[in-house]
Amino acid sequence: MYLHYDIPSYDLTYAGEASSNVKKILVQLGIDPRCVKKAAISMYEAELNAVIHGGGGTADIVIDREKIKIDISDSGPGIADLDLAMQEGYSTASDEIREMGFGAGMGLPNMKRYADILEIDTKPGEGTKVTITVMLNAPRT
């Protein structure tokens, strides 16, 4: 199954619609709730990043028997120092974003925590593509 969503830019009010829809579909497909939660949380963090930092973007999801694969792409400024961005607590978010309860520097670390495979393709000035893979037959952790 393939799903595609456009992620609107800089509007935190509606951010999370795509993740919410994907979660609903995963539940309807009868996928293991643990896998649904892993996919939903990591996609939600990536979607928020695309809204906050990337000026919006796209979400493309492939669901097959083995895995859920979620691509979130934006054409924002890219991540200058990925190693730093992966550290808990490091954030470049604005005060406005912090007032909304985000920008705590936990987005990428949370994605890494919940995804079975996390791939990040980013270049300064050329945007960011985050690929989250959740394996459907992963051993219980």
Partner: protein, 115 residues
């Protein structure tokens, strides 16, 4: 602890009951939603001073079915509507975060999350 007991301890106003008096096993108090998403536990109650639709979104992603807004904060109608749509119970207590958490903890809600 039943959700109705949580409401009683906190003297909370129930803005939406979620349709069911669910069992709460642990609680997470935070204004930072990404910290909430690092909290792994089942049957969680979320206490927050943040009033935003993203509180409900975060609860939805985390399978959190009850949210308490502290310091007497009352969410706007659009936030309540989103909560109703998702079946997430919402209440408001006048207690500040520390006191609200302390009251629940001392009444036996001591289940901790793991990271």
């Amino acid at each position: 602890m039943k959700l109705s007991k949580v409401a009683e301890i906190l003297g909370a106003e129930i803005l939406y009951d979620g349709g069911e008096d669910i069992e709460i096993e642990s609680a997470c108090g935070s204004d930072l939603m990404s910290d909430v998403m690092a909290f792994v536990k089942e049957n969680v109650l979320l206490l927050t001073g943040l009033v935003s639709p993203q509180v409900i979104r975060t609860a939805e992603m985390m399978d959190i079915r009850a949210v308490v807004f502290v310091r007497g904060k009352v969410p706007a109608q659009n936030i309540l509507e989103l909560a109703r749509e998702k079946g997430i119970a919402v209440m408001s207590t006048n207690y500040p975060m520390f006191i609200a958490c302390g009251k629940l903890y001392s009444e036996g809600l001591t289940g901790k999350g793991v990271r």
